[in-house]
């Protein structure tokens, strides 16, 4: 999910610190040793209950980690298993720090039913890759599904869940979203969708009502609505260009997803591999040209000085009614309500063409459950995943967090903030954002920001073609 892009740097700092401490063993394949238990538990950000401040105890911890790191390569696989008595300890890493409370409750309920399993929650997703490098990843993981997670799947990091009975309870069209990122050995189910986030244009219902504007279903109606607001002295769309990820998940994804078939485009682009040139029929230059003028038009509907406003500025301003619309996903809803309890919000999918039948919502599998392939606690992990996939747990989570349940026969959403997207989601008129198809090594967000400032479309598309080809070249070998 997009927000993780904002988080990478601070987390990554700790990532490097830990990789520097422990040189990666040279894994022939990704195998997990039972050995370095001494490191386990210290290596993550720690359970949620632990204080995150730097106390004397945490300093001692760090010292003992350094000591453990020094010992591990020598002692190798000598240490014993994790079980203390009959209790198995599972490490559960989930990717959304804002829902820690919900999962603490779920874990308490699960432990009450399963006294032989103890679950530790970790919400610092930035520790996942370092955990892999150390051959010590968590047992159960939730991740947002996009290119980066697809890469883990293709490298066989996750166990096959296709035989879990819970796998058949998932809506196949939503399971396909996960599978579209690749399947290990061509058929495995590496993750079960837990939560589907749908994004569109968040709008202020009061401002729409006050100016008699109905939810637009065509691009022309949309621009007409923007002109109405502008004529009334209201900023049509609040822009937060200083945070480039907001441009990527907003105007870039919404317009490209509405104008093009992104899944097909990236499918053929990936099939073409390193041969793609700007002139090729599969290139960005050949396909993305119709997207660009509409992006610039959206940018022109933003307030003056959007380039010095970031995501949190945008939340504060939009919640106070300083603009009619806001190109953000459902994750912005709770900060908006937190900033102004009175604000009445709705969401509609951006109509990127003049044919209402083309209008689609941007979705992403915001959380999908996986078990790491080489966990020594496979049986316990499967029991935990089975519990998490119970309809009561899944549906309650999604209802509470303005998301859509991926299960068959889930109750319809009632939250007025997202009901405008319900029709698109239930008819599977959705797409995964174009930005999520890019490998993280391409600084796409910066390129988009650069394009919005310079308005130089040729340079932008040529840069994307170049970057894509270079990454394909070096990952193909």
């Amino acid at each position: 999910m997009q927000r993780s892009n904002r988080e990478t740097r601070p987390h990554a700092l700790s990532a490097v610190a830990s990789t520097a401490r422990l040189p990666p063993r040279f894994p022939q394949r990704y195998t997990r040793h039972n050995g370095p238990r001494a490191v386990k538990g210290w290596s993550t950000a720690g359970p949620t209950s632990a204080s995150r401040t730097l106390s004397r105890r945490s300093l001692l911890r760090m010292a003992s980690l350094a000591g453990a790191a020094a010992v591990v390569p020598v002692t190798g696989c000598a240490a014993g298993p994790t079980e203390q008595g009959a209790v198995t300890t599972l490490r559960f890493m989930q990717n959304k720090p804002e829902v820690v409370g919900y999962f603490n409750q779920v874990i308490r309920d699960f432990e009450a039913l399963n006294p032989d399993i103890h679950v530790i929650q970790d919400f610092n997703e930035g520790n996942f890759v370092p955990g892999l490098v150390r051959n010590d990843p968590p047992d159960v993981v939730t991740r947002g599904f996009a290119q980066a997670t697809g890469d883990f799947v293709r490298k066989g990091i996750f166990a096959d869940l296709s035989e879990l009975p819970e796998a058949s309870t998932v809506d196949p069209q939503i399971q396909d979203l996960v599978n579209s990122w690749g399947q290990y050995n061509g058929h495995e189910i590496s993750a079960l969708p837990f939560s589907l986030a749908a994004a569109g244009v968040i709008y202020n219902r009061d401002i729409f009502d006050a100016h008699g504007v109905a939810v637009p279903t065509t691009w022309d109606a949309f621009t007409a609505a923007c002109e109405t607001f502008r004529a009334a002295g209201i900023t049509p769309i609040y822009g937060t260009f200083k945070d480039p990820w907001t441009l990527a998940q907003g105007m870039f994804d919404y317009v490209s997803g509405g104008v093009l078939d992104t899944a097909e485009f990236f499918g053929s682009l990936n099939a073409k591999g390193a041969d793609v040139s700007a002139a090729a029929a599969e290139s960005f230059t050949s396909n993305f040209r119709p997207v660009l003028p509409r992006m610039l038009q959206l940018a022109s509907f933003s307030q003056n000085g959007a380039s010095s406003k970031n995501y949190s500025d945008g939340n504060a301003a939009f919640a106070k009614g300083q603009a009619a619309m806001y190109l953000q996903g459902p994750w912005a809803l709770s900060p908006l309500v937190a900033a102004n309890k009175e604000v009445r919000l709705g969401t509609f999918p951006l109509p990127a063409t003049n044919n209402p039948a083309d209008t689609k919502a941007r979705v992403n599998v915001d959380m999908a459950l996986s078990i790491t392939r080489n966990t020594p606690n496979m049986a316990a992990a499967r029991r935990f995943v089975a519990y998490l996939m119970e309809p009561a747990v899944v549906n309650a989570y999604n209802e509470k967090h303005a998301a859509f349940s991926p299960l068959k026969g889930a109750p319809p959403v009632t939250n007025p903030q997202i009901t405008g997207l319900a029709e698109s989601v239930s008819n599977a008129r959705f797409y995964q954002g174009a930005a999520t198809y890019f490998p993280p090594s391409v600084p796409l967000h910066n390129y988009i920001q650069s394009f919005v400032y310079s308005r130089n479309g040729d340079q932008f598309l040529a840069a994307l073609d170049d970057e894509w080809r270079r990454v394909a070249e070096r990952t193909a070998v």
């Binding site: 990554a12 990789t19 894994p27 890759v129 480039p244 010095s308 090594s441 400032y453 970057e467 070998v477």
Partner: protein, 320 residues
């Protein structure tokens, strides 16, 4: 011509402390006095540190070099691909751009930091009122973390400054300079100078205090003016300190990272991506081996620059 820079050049505070105490002879007395029997204490001092250094720095660095020859993503399967990563780096204009940015930035920052720091040091070394208090004020930026400083400046540049500029009708600053692809790097230089100047100032102050007062008295008697004294006496006498500052500063600015993260995050667009940021992106981007190759190349370049600098210093008769 000053000949010896005392103290460990890696830590400025140590340099200052020893500069004040013993300006000349800090070469280990054991070597000069008893070359045959070496006190084992020295080994106790050196060997554990050497072992830690090898284990925590040299070994991981070698592992990194090893993986730069593979297509390892940081996890999962990998195989040897020879020098393909190195070849690809030279074909990557984005990497080249980050090198150009980093070197231009490091050169500019080094020059500005040293000019500012020397001016401050000269002022603080003069007999002015409230000297100790003013010195303390000037050293505060050194105590603050660079990341904190850059977040504060980020706010000033994005919110305070545009509002002020708009009130005063000064349009060039009415939009944040951090959002301007051509000017954002100047903001980074400004914050870097603000943060790095105190460290350089301390070294210059130490140098200024090592200049004996008699030479100025003699110059006064000879009728040399203040400016002439600065040019012909002070600067040559603290040349060694200037060299230290330039070398340490340049080396530090080549690795610039956290101030950019706090201010622009490498943007707007690709305008302020430093080499260190690109290398770092390999850890999160699944591009580990490629950026490791970048790191090896960058290491060789900085090594080359260091050797050239050392040669230049030795020719001037300054020993590190």
């Amino acid at each position: 011509m000053p000949t010896t820079i005392p103290g460990d050049p890696m830590t400025t505070s140590a340099a200052v402390a020893s500069a004040r105490a013993v300006p000349a002879a800090t070469t280990t007395s054991a070597v000069t006095r008893a070359p045959r029997r070496i006190d084992p204490t020295y080994y106790w001092m050196v060997v554990p540190v050497l072992a830690l250094f090898a284990f925590f720095i040299t070994l991981p660095a070698l592992v990194g070099v090893f993986f730069s020859l593979t297509n390892y993503a940081g996890y999962g399967d990998w195989k040897f691909i020879g020098f393909a990563n190195y070849v690809n780096i030279f074909k990557d204009p984005a990497i080249l751009q980050s090198y150009i940015f980093t070197f231009v930035f490091a050169l500019t920052a080094t020059v500005v930091v040293n000019v500012v720091a020397l001016a401050i040091a000269l002022g603080l070394n003069a007999k002015i009122k409230w000297r100790t208090g003013i010195r303390t004020v000037f050293f505060i930026p050194m105590v603050l973390s660079a990341l904190v400083v850059s977040f504060v400046f980020n706010y000033l540049f994005s919110n305070t400054l545009p509002v002020l500029a708009e009130r005063l009708g000064f349009t060039p600053l009415a939009t944040s300079i951090l959002a301007n692809e051509n000017l954002a790097w100047l903001a980074i230089v400004l914050v870097t100078v603000w943060q790095a100047a105190p460290g350089a100032t301390i070294i210059y102050l130490a140098g200024l205090q090592s200049v004996p007062a008699e030479v100025y008295e003699a110059a006064d008697l000879d009728g040399a003016g203040n400016f002439r004294q600065l040019l012909s006496l002070t600067l040559p006498l603290i040349l060694g300190y200037l060299v230290i500052n330039v070398i340490l500063g340049f080396k530090g600015f080549l690795g610039t990272y956290e101030i950019i993260v706090g201010l622009t995050g490498g943007g707007p667009g690709m305008a302020t991506q430093s080499v260190a940021m690109r290398i770092f992106s390999g850890f999160t981007g699944g591009d580990y081996s490629y950026q490791m190759a970048n790191a090896v190349i960058y290491f060789l370049i900085t090594l080359l620059i260091s050797i050239i600098q050392l040669r230049l210093i030795q020719r001037r008769g300054v020993a590190l």
